[in-house]
């Protein structure tokens, strides 16, 4: 009888140890989609609403990342493009509000290196690594099409996109957009800060201003 008692004790211990081992070994599994065990999950996943999550409110599934209420102005924000201003008008009326300095140009260059270079290329020739793969590569800054592009049009393009280029407003603040424009003007071959305005552009500006004035008179 003593013999069976020992066996029972043994089978119990063997079972317990096997169970512990199984736990130990399985928790080391390398399944890529499993993040592993969490101790006190409520410290990892608090009830506070966090970024990039969904939550339910009154039965609706909502995203924690939401757009601010329309018309929200962020603190310290710089005004961008006034409502109703189109590409042509932006070229005439929008001017760079940032004072030019060498520091601003370096900053613009750094922004260019992160946000523009892979399509437009180091020297703005439209030969970036991604640019050449696009069905229509970006035109060179110093080519006939863009050489005398007014800064307002550049700002409009960065903000709203043009052609294949998408809007970069979500990536660059208004201030950063104007800073990078100084650098683009350098790549155009102008002295940034005081871009040379070609006669044709001057004429174009005069024409737009004239028609605008006419329209205003008519509405009056």
């Amino acid at each position: 009888m003593n013999f069976t008692k020992i066996i029972n004790l043994k089978t119990l211990t063997v079972g317990a140890i096997a169970g512990v081992m199984a736990f130990g070994l399985t928790s080391c599994s390398n399944a890529p989609n499993s993040p592993g065990y969490e101790f006190m999950p409520d410290m990892y996943r608090s009830p506070v609403l966090k970024y990039y999550n969904t939550y339910t409110l009154n039965g609706d599934t909502l995203q924690s990342a939401m757009k601010p209420v329309a018309g929200t102005i962020s603190r310290g924000c710089m005004p961008g493009i006034p409502a109703g201003m189109d590409y042509e008008k932006a070229g005439v009326y929008l001017k760079n509000p940032i004072l030019f300095s060498d520091a601003v140009l370096t900053e613009g260059g750094a922004i260019y290196g992160k946000f523009c270079v892979h399509c437009h290329g180091e020297a703005g020739k439209g030969d970036g690594k991604v640019g050449v793969k696009l069905p229509g590569p970006p035109p060179p800054y110093d080519g006939a099409g863009l050489k005398n592009l007014p800064e307002g049009k550049m700002f409009y393009t960065i903000t709203n996109g043009k052609g294949l280029m998408g809007s970069h407003a979500s990536q660059l603040s208004v201030e950063e957009r104007w800073k990078v424009i100084y650098y683009v003007q350098k790549l155009q071959g102008h002295t940034p800060g005081q871009p040379a305005v070609a006669d044709s552009v001057k004429a174009e500006i005069a024409m737009v201003v004239k028609t605008d004035n006419k329209k205003e008179k008519q509405t009056k």
């Binding site: 066996i7 081992m21 928790s27 080391c28 993040p35 793969k133 069905p135 006939a144 052609g163 979500s170």
Partner: protein, 422 residues
């Protein structure tokens, strides 16, 4: 004049003609790239304007329609030309830019280029294809648990077979010598008896097994709340809803990390890019080198983009639910901008060489020990860093006796509890 001279003259004229023609074609290409390629592709893909493939068959033949259209399309539309008004309507009344600034020669050159574009051999990215293939098939180590289990199973089968052999041999032997056949004993009964006879062996086995078990428990305790395997130095690498490869984007195409993770310098979080950032490039690039159109189609589904028409349908938008790889518990505060802008730490220091990763993997353990170790040894870059001017002076005063000139993050309070836990 001899016949030869005449031939020569003719030849010269021909060569001249051909070279002029050639020059104008080359010119046409540059004019096209600088002015038209932004909106028009030479294929049938619609960018902003319609694709130009087969344009010669579509446009009206009479007069210089194409020339007039390129020069001033507004005029052509206003003149009441039926085809002009039709394509204006087809493209959602979005007017084309007027190119009065182009000279007649340039327009003619670009006209010739559009109607007869040179056939370009499409380079097939076989090299990068092969690369990516080898990267995608990751090495898979066999879990030691499976090896142990299979050895146990094999040993069990062997024991069973050997027992059968032994029993039948015994029976044959008993028959031969005319002995009485032993009563058959069940496998379980026999095992019980064997265990009783080998108690010491069993105790040793149990001790070894329990040691292994305790060690693996100890190891697994270190993985609780840590998305990192200390044995294999492999981190969490979940499968994402889109097979996005950092190797292609950040590596092969050299797109800066900040282009997509653009809040890294401004905020706590590096930021997961919104789908409009994907679309900045993928509006044009509709086919990838590895998965073709399959994975890119998921971006289009998320952004409500119709690649054929080139238009967005806001009502069909549906966010991509990326899986967060680098997780910190809620009770830890970490700020990316502080480390990247003030600390001037490279992305790769914590995230590893993401440029080589097909699937992103957590390269650092992200435990508190790991944070503290780095804070203890990292010297604060104080030169040209006005943020620390006052603190620097105070520290100099404090560490006068030690004659210290450089300070680690820890000496500036980088290991105070409340720096990260509050």
């Amino acid at each position: 004049m001899s016949r030869n001279a005449l031939n020569l003259l003719l030849g010269l004229i021909l060569v001249g003609f051909v070279s002029i023609n050639h020059a104008s074609a080359a010119d046409g290409k540059t004019v096209f790239k600088q002015n038209c390629a932004v909106c028009h592709a030479l294929t049938d893909q619609k960018i902003t304007g319609p694709g130009l493939k087969g344009l010669g068959d579509r446009i009206p033949k009479e007069g210089d329609w194409l020339f007039n259209w390129i020069k001033n399309n507004e005029k052509v539309i206003k003149s009441g030309n039926a085809y002009a008004n039709k394509i204006l309507k087809e493209n959602g009344n979005a007017a084309m830019t007027v190119f009065e600034s182009l000279s007649d020669d340039e327009i003619k050159a670009v006209e010739a280029y559009i109607l007869n574009p040179p056939v370009e051999v499409k380079a097939v990215a076989t090299a990068s294809n092969a690369d990516a293939g080898s990267g995608a098939t990751e090495e898979k180590g066999v879990n030691p648990l499976y090896i142990i289990l299979s050895v146990i199973v094999i040993l069990g089968i062997l024991t069973g077979i050997l027992r059968g052999v032994r029993l039948s041999l015994q029976r044959v032997n008993n028959d031969k010598e005319g002995n009485e056949q032993a009563e058959p004993v069940s496998f379980f009964e026999e095992g019980k008896k064997w265990l009783g006879e080998h108690k010491r062996f069993m105790v040793v086995c149990l001790i070894v097994l329990s040691c292994i078990g305790m060690k693996s428990c100890w190891n697994s305790l270190f993985r609780v709340g840590v998305y990192y395997d200390w044995q294999t130095n492999k981190g969490y690498h979940p499968e994402q809803p889109i097979k996005f490869s950092h190797k292609i984007h950040a590596g092969d195409n050299a797109i800066a990390c900040q282009y997509c993770h653009n809040s890294v310098e401004k905020s706590r979080h590096a930021g997961i890019p919104t789908v409009n950032i994907c679309m900045n490039c993928h509006k044009g690039i509709q086919e990838g080198p590895i998965t073709g159109t399959k994975e890119i189609a998921k971006i289009y589904a998320a952004s409500g983009f119709d690649p054929k028409a080139g238009t967005y349908d806001v009502s069909k938008q549906n966010p991509i639910q990326w899986i967060k790889v680098h997780n910190l518990p809620d009770h830890v505060y970490f700020n990316h901008s502080q480390h990247v802008v003030v600390g001037k730490i490279e992305c790769t220091q914590c995230h590893g060489n993401v440029k080589e990763m097909t699937t992103v993997e957590q390269k650092s353990p992200l435990t508190m020990k790991w944070c503290i170790e780095c804070h203890r040894k990292t010297e604060v870059a104080m030169a040209g860093n006005p943020y620390y001017d006052r603190l620097h002076e105070a520290l100099k005063e404090k560490y006068k006796k030690e004659h210290l000139n450089t300070f680690t993050v820890a000496q500036m309070g980088g290991i105070e509890c409340a720096k990260c836990h509050y």
